[in-house]
């Protein structure tokens, strides 16, 4: 149902056809450079730091997908912790079934995790596609709170609260475990980033933003709003599933306690603070997710305060989120708008329009 009126085509032509490429031209070198850096780090860092590096990689898969969903497409999801859990448990079940046959089982288990969480993401996404604002948040919150209880219902398979331990082969050759895991996690992360960057650069990215900014206009321009919303959800779910699988691999186990509601909220914090809709922001967010709890733990280790231990990171994340939201003058919209100005070089060169008063998406 594309609109062929002359005005519409004129609008489309005004936007430079290779917008993303102009900015991300250097993206071609970005990934190999990052890969080289990570590789170097895994040889230089002590084992615990390497493990933390691996964790950052695992988180990065999730934050990248979530920042696309919430930042570029404007859908607020509080349920991505549950999607990670889906990936993690699938990985665990697949790996335990295939254990001992060689390193390739990891790839198969990870693929299974991605497939299952994509399917779950599609189901949730279909339900969510027509929801907005607090209704969407409420639905995804329900998903995050309810999904752990599934492990209790089918406790034959999932072993309810104790969870499952995962049979993993030792790394090939004499590579230390942490280094091997860091390679795997970052391989996943960099592949995810590459795929997402390609997606965003093209029509999909434009559609995402168009729907976020003005649904009615997007519809008039021939974009299928529902399909875009669902696709965004599915893509981010796939990323979360991969992240969850890598997580499970790092922990060598899965349990409901590893995927609490707080995890979904942490992901939200990471994405909001990192910079909504920006893939580099996802990197910052992933770093934050590892650095902040580590920082909090170093504090609580010094004071002997067992009650502080799990809770200080929560408090810090919460405070940081509130402060950032209050400080940003336009709230979420301004945090994502900064991204828009950066990715459209023609707009960046024009004088900035005064702060729009009517930010709410017109329906």
């Amino acid at each position: 149902m594309t609109d062929r009126r002359p005005e519409m085509t004129a609008v489309r032509e005004r936007v430079p056809p290779r917008v993303g490429e102009a900015v991300r031209g250097q993206g071609r070198l970005w990934i190999p450079a990052a890969a080289a850096l990570i590789l170097a780090l895994t040889y230089v860092l002590p084992p615990f730091r390497t493990y933390q590096l691996a964790t950052v990689g695992a988180y990065l898969c999730v934050t990248a997908g979530l920042t696309v969903l919430t930042g570029l497409n404007g859908q607020l999801s509080l349920g991505h912790g549950a999607l990670m859990a889906t990936g993690g448990y699938t990985f665990a079940l697949a790996q335990n079934a295939l254990a001992g046959r060689g390193q390739w089982t990891l790839a198969v288990s990870a693929a299974a995790a991605v497939v299952v969480s994509t399917a779950v993401g599609a189901v949730v996404g279909l339900a969510a596609a027509r929801l907005r604002g607090p209704y969407l948040a409420g639905l995804t919150l329900a998903v995050a709170v309810v999904v752990p209880s599934i492990t209790s219902t089918f406790d034959g398979t999932f072993n309810s609260d104790q969870g499952l331990s995962i049979a993993l082969d030792p790394p090939p050759g004499v590579i230390p475990v942490e280094r091997w895991q860091a390679w795997l996690c970052w391989a996943g992360a960099l592949i995810t980033l590459r795929l997402l960057a390609n997606l965003i650069r093209g029509r999909f990215g434009r559609n995402l933003r168009a729907v976020r900014d003005d649904e009615a206009a997007a519809r008039l321009a021939g974009i299928s709003v529902a399909r875009t919303q669902v696709m965004a959800f599915v893509v981010s779910a796939a990323c979360a599933g991969l992240g969850g699988a890598l997580f499970a691999m790092l922990a060598q186990s899965v349990s409901p306690g590893a995927f609490p509601l707080a995890l979904s909220l942490f992901l939200l914090v990471a994405v909001v603070i990192g910079g909504l809709g920006r893939l580099t922001g996802a990197v910052w967010g992933a770093l934050l997710l590892v650095a902040l709890p580590a920082l909090a733990n170093s504090v609580t280790d010094r004071i002997d305060a067992p009650r502080l231990e799990g809770n200080l990171p929560l408090a810090l994340f919460g405070v940081v989120l509130i402060v950032v939201m209050l400080a940003a003058p336009g709230g979420i919209a301004s945090l994502s708008r900064r991204v828009r100005d950066e990715t459209h070089p023609d707009r960046a060169s024009r004088p900035r329009p005064s702060r729009r008063l009517f930010r709410q998406r017109r329906r």
Binding site: L141, V145, V146, S149, A315, G318, G331
Partner: protein, 292 residues
């Protein structure tokens, strides 16, 4: 048949709590056009305060009163010190800030009281009376019904018969016009939050004796169930909130009773999905508006 009757009464009792909590959500929705995602965490916090008083003094009633008072204060404080400063251009901003509050509140509770489950005793017996061999209600159930009915009645009187209630309604329906008429709209908003939080606190004190115990996350599922109840009834409708709450309570009770307790949360999620897809304005809605 006996089981069905028992489950029905049990469900209505649970439902009354969800009704109260959903009412709190609707109150804030009507006043400020936002869903207070921190409502559950706020209720837990005041319940901790309440139960501290209970263990210190031995009196549940005093503890309840303290919890309600703490709710009033906490609701007013959250509105005045945090929510007021959030950018209003998009409803998502306040949702995100509320979630930040959830993190902070749950963390602080964990830091002060620890993360183990603490006992939350009921003030009166939870044993069901039997009539003709059929287990019906317990004293506690009656207490729950009575409290919720009293609160709903009081709120009704407040809003329809008092000057304050008139001001609050005017401030919610037409803030600018109300200001021109001399209504302190900001103050009415704070009052709305305070009342809603107090109602949430009451719901918390009523539901915790039936749960595993007092814990920073104890109200998470209650929030989800009450949110579902509010959506079922239509976020704009206080009557709908009560009806929705009872419906959700009954549903959970039957599912728990016949299919197993662990399936109950799934039932809530399915109900939520069904209502959001089918009649997002709630079962009592006149139109089918899908957006906030």
């Amino acid at each position: 048949m006996d089981r069905f009757v028992f489950l029905t009464f049990d469900g209505l009792s649970r439902g009354a709590v969800y009704a109260a909590f959903a009412l709190a959500l609707v109150l804030i929705w009507r006043a400020a056009r936002i869903v207070n995602f921190a409502q559950g965490a706020m209720a837990v916090a005041t319940a901790y305060a309440g139960y501290s008083v209970v263990s210190a003094t031995g009196s549940y009633w005093l503890g309840c009163a303290v919890a309600l008072a703490a709710g009033l204060v906490l609701g007013a404080a959250v509105e005045r010190l945090v929510m007021r400063f959030v950018d209003h251009s998009s409803p998502l901003n306040q949702v995100v800030v509320a979630l930040g509050l959830v993190l902070v509140i749950q963390a602080v509770l964990g830091m002060i009281y620890g993360n183990e489950y603490r006992p939350a005793a009921a003030p009166v017996s939870r044993e069901a009376f039997t009539v003709g061999g059929v287990a019906l209600l317990s004293r506690f159930d009656l207490f729950v019904f009575g409290s919720v009915a009293a609160v709903v009645g009081l709120l009704l009187l407040l809003f329809t018969r008092t000057e304050v209630g008139l001001r609050m309604r005017a401030a919610a329906f037409a803030p600018d016009v109300s200001r021109l008429l001399g209504v302190n709209v900001g103050g009415m908003l704070t009052l709305g939050w305070a009342l809603a939080a107090a109602v949430g606190s009451l719901a918390g004190m009523l539901v915790l004796p039936t749960e595993l115990g007092l814990h920073p996350n104890a109200m998470d599922l209650v929030f989800v169930s009450s949110f579902t109840a509010a959506v079922v009834g239509g976020l704009d409708s206080p009557v709908g909130a009560v009806a929705g709450g009872l419906l959700v309570g009954l549903l959970l009770s039957y599912v728990s009773g016949y299919l197993g307790a662990t399936v109950a949360p799934m039932a809530v999620l399915i109900l939520l999905v069904v209502v959001l897809l089918g009649r997002p304005g709630g079962l009592f809605a006149k139109s089918t508006a899908r957006t906030a």
